[in-house]
């Protein structure tokens, strides 16, 4: 599952407290007594980017194995469901996140379950065998049995030559997961799924005292692992435009372009976010209005980015109206891109995308689940308090800064293009 962490942050100050256990586990607590529920969220600092290039798809495979029983608890789901709880998980290129929502009175059940699988999985051969198959079916369902399902595999491999963002979370190829051996799985687990490589966030109807007691009791005894020092290959600056042609049994032509953009910590990140809103955020956005409505070259078009921690990709992708040539469509997109480079955005348009951002923040902040995800994510970035400063960062953005960022990103030598042709 790909998750857009794009605009997950909050307008209201989210109050939280933080402490750390002796084994290195960071714990954050956000209390909200207006709900009868609690959320227990464990983020592991392990994403698809940390995988061995010859064994991709492992972080995501783990998302499955983590429900196949832990060392003391044969089945993860049953006790949680018996306590009225629900859970799920997702894997991105940067992280893996597990979360339960449970009636607050039964919160200890979530601590018991989450701590046992952090202690150790059951590592049953049967579970590995079944989940390998399940992941292969997931791969087929989403990436083989769907028109254009392989487009992102190809685009990532085109845009990244060195950095591990060049494969998707599901894995670069089916065989990596199909060939996963028990020893590989164990090694992966004990390398990454350690308390010192995790962040525990508890939100909802709980107290700091309760969380402290329960965290010490259940997570405290888990031994720390060796510290993981991430040292990923760096993507060299792209010097030349790259492109790839695909001819496949799809009903219409598709054009997909990406440009390298900054990572989460780079200057210009928030500006880039607003650029994608100006171009692709809704029915009044520029690409929609100009290319679907006025020029009628595309039947659908979108502009977005993945909000990755390391330098990511700004994407424009659209399906062409039947009969429109790829060259005409491409030129029309580039004309819009050129406009944003050459002409300063009207103040009102900048205000619009900032207002939209404020609104997204408020709506996302409504549930204790989203608050837990955001706290964990910003803590992973370095400090959960950053989530309370996001809106200010957007509000400070000027048309000049957007233009400067657009000029830095939208360079031909920085562009990758996938021409996806219909064979029909």
């Amino acid at each position: 599952m790909v998750v857009r962490f794009k605009l997950i942050f909050v307008v209201l100050m989210i109050q939280f407290e933080k402490f750390q256990l002796a084994n290195g586990l960071k714990v954050l607590v956000h209390q909200d007594t207006s709900t009868p529920m609690a959320v227990v969220n464990v983020l592991y600092n392990i994403g698809a980017k940390d995988e061995n290039p010859a064994q991709t798809g492992f972080a995501h495979l783990f998302e499955h194995l983590m429900f196949g029983g832990s060392v003391n608890i044969p089945v993860y789901d049953e006790p949680l469901q018996r306590a009225g709880g629900e859970n799920n998980a997702y894997t991105t290129n940067d992280l893996t996140n597990y979360y339960c929502q449970i009636p607050a009175e039964n919160i200890e059940t979530a601590f018991w379950l989450e701590s046992d699988r952090m202690l150790s999985l059951a590592f049953s051969e049967k579970s590995l065998e079944v989940q390998r198959k399940v992941v292969c079916e997931e791969f087929k369902e989403h990436y083989i049995n769907k028109p254009y399902g392989d487009a992102w595999h190809k685009m990532r491999a085109l845009a990244y030559t060195n950095h591990p963002y060049r494969w998707m979370t599901i894995g670069a190829e089916l065989s990596h997961v199909e060939n996963a051996k028990m020893q590989d799985v164990k090694d992966f687990f004990f390398k990454f799924y350690r308390p010192n490589n995790a962040i525990l966030v508890v939100t909802g109807n709980t107290t700091m005292e309760q969380v402290k007691t329960l965290a010490e009791k259940w997570f405290g005894p888990i031994p720390a692992g060796e510290a993981y020092h991430r040292n990923l290959p760096i993507e060299p600056v792209q010097e030349k435009m790259r492109s790839l042609e695909v001819h496949a049994d799809v009903p219409m032509d598709m054009l997909m372009m990406t440009w390298h953009m900054g990572g989460r910590f780079d200057a210009g990140y928030h500006e880039t976010d607003l650029i994608t809103e100006v171009l692709g955020g809704g029915a009044s956005a520029r690409l929609y209005e100009q290319l679907i409505k006025v020029k009628q070259l595309f039947s659908s078009i979108d502009c977005y980015h993945f909000g990755t921690v390391d330098p990511g990709l700004l994407v424009i992708e659209g399906k062409l109206v039947k009969g429109v040539s790829m060259a005409v469509a491409e030129k029309a997109v580039l004309d819009e891109v050129e406009k944003i480079k050459q002409e300063l955005l009207p103040q009102k348009e900048v205000q619009k995308v900032i207002n939209k951002t404020e609104s997204i923040i408020c709506f996302e902040d409504m549930s204790i689940m989203n608050r837990a995800h955001s706290l964990a994510f910003y803590e992973l970035l370095g400090d959960a308090e950053m989530m309370n400063q996001e809106l200010e960062k957007y509000q400070a953005i000027t048309p000049e800064r957007i233009q400067a960022t657009a000029n830095a990103i939208f360079q031909d030598r920085n562009r990758n293009t996938l021409y996806y042709y219909s064979k029909n």
């Binding site: 307008v11 469901q81 018991w112």
Partner: protein, 427 residues
């Protein structure tokens, strides 16, 4: 004392939770339109659902209801589509529209402080939409392309066909779009439908979140003054004509690596006394991650990424549906396992511990589902549009708490008979 990790912490059974559906507020606008609202929440946000009785059960020509609903926002006599969208998006608001079978909605999500600036323009959509030829042409072209793309997907085809088998192609629940549906649409069709079912239609409003102080007077000014609820709705009769043949296998794409499996039977609507009990039985069968289908077919055999069963959300009559995408070579085995699970539910009483787990899961999930003003109002909306009240909510909870293994076995014998099920695989 050493920590005993084998032993589960004590829990409070969800069946012992006091689960309440908090009451709504209600007022009537000057034109007779009813407004149901629930005020609450910490953030300064709100939503408004304008529900029109303008679903596809009122259309005389295929896809007119859906096209009218979609194009509501694509231009009024005063503003272009761009100006409308730019206005809504400038305030960071979301204006969506959705067409269902009985109803069609215009939905607004906004920061509460902008409600006053947005409501007049939402109101404009109800009386001033102009359905230009140009907008209709773009809609037709893009929807045709979208249809061509969707027809490549086995799950899309399976979803259409199973509804057709259950209800018949001429029933609102069984019908679907074809190339001809889009090509045959005319501006006159849309204008006529709009005039009858929106501008002079019947509506009801649902609101939730934090409201501005003058919310009621704003609603009266901009919605209460519209010519709504003046004309009675036309009556309609859509007989359900189910297919005679029960089993289908269709090859849509010879190179497909998976098959989309749908198995379904007709089922009464929420007013039937068996509905709440069957919801429990459905959860046991395939309603959640710990269900029997999921444990057997995904977690034990690895045939699929997921398998689910559910009762459809219809007003007139429902269907009980089992849905999955499975590996091409194991589709037959998957169907066989589904029938095996049905047989077990018919022939054996469910174990007390499993039933308790399902009960606790359902009530815990319900507690979570009712957390927040939008969620509370959505639940009420479903009830009110299905002509149900709080007694239905209470009865459902009572049923989940009290139902016994023998009751579930009886329901299984009544409703889980293989000969009642349609069975479809699309490759």
């Amino acid at each position: 004392m050493a920590l005993d990790r084998m032993k589960a912490p004590l829990i409070k059974d969800a069946v012992d939770f006091d689960i309440q559906l908090k009451p709504y507020q209600h007022f009537t606008l000057n034109n007779g339109v009813e407004v149901y609202s629930y005020e609450g929440g910490a953030e300064e946000v709100m939503m408004m659902d304008l529900v029109f009785f303008a679903g596809n059960c009122y259309e005389e020509k295929n896809w007119v209801a859906a096209a009218t609903n979609f194009l509501l926002k694509n231009g009024t006599h005063q503003k272009t589509a761009f100006e409308l969208n730019d206005h809504f998006e400038f305030y960071g608001a979301y204006v969506n529209r959705t067409c269902y079978n009985e109803t069609a909605t215009i939905n607004l999500h906004t920061l509460s402080k902008h409600f006053e600036a947005l409501l007049p323009v939402v109101s404009e959509l109800v009386t001033e939409s102009n359905f230009s030829e140009e907008e209709l042409k773009i809609y037709q072209q893009n929807q045709l392309q979208r249809l061509t793309l969707n027809l490549k997907k086995s799950d899309f085809i399976a979803n259409r066909l199973i509804d057709e088998y259950l209800f018949g192609i001429n029933h609102p629940y069984g019908t679907y779009s074809t190339e001809a549906s889009f090509n045959n649409l005319t501006r006159e069709d849309l204008v006529k439908f709009y005039d009858r079912f929106y501008k002079h239609g019947q509506a009801v409003v649902f609101m939730a979140g934090k409201f501005p102080k003058n919310m009621q007077s704003l609603m009266n000014k901009y919605i209460g003054a519209l010519p709504l609820n003046q004309q009675a709705l036309p009556s309609y009769a859509h007989p359900i004509i189910s297919a005679a043949t029960k089993k289908y296998s269709i090859v849509n794409d010879a190179s497909s690596v998976q098959g989309s499996i749908r198995m379904a039977r007709r089922f009464p609507n929420r007013h039937h006394p068996d509905f709440p009990g069957t919801q429990v039985l459905n959860n046991v069968l395939g309603g959640f991650f710990g269900s029997r289908l999921m444990r057997n077919i995904r977690e034990d055999k690895g045939y699929t990424y997921g398998i689910h069963s559910y009762l459809q959300n219809h007003v007139q009559e429902c269907a009980w549906m089992i849905s999955t995408d499975a590996g091409k070579d194991v589709c037959g085995a998957t169907i066989e396992e589904v029938y095996k699970e049905m047989a077990i539910l018919r022939n054996e009483k469910i174990d007390e511990a499993e039933l308790k787990l399902v009960k606790n899961y359902m009530l815990g999930a319900l507690l979570g589902d009712l957390d927040g003003p939008f969620q509370i109002m959505n639940r009420w909306k479903t009830y009110l549009l299905n002509d149900l009240d709080i007694t239905y909510f209470n009865k459902t909870i009572e049923t989940v708490r009290a139902i016994q293994p023998a009751d579930l076995q009886a329901l299984a014998n009544q409703y889980l008979q293989p000969e009642d099920f349609y069975e479809l695989v699309v490759y």
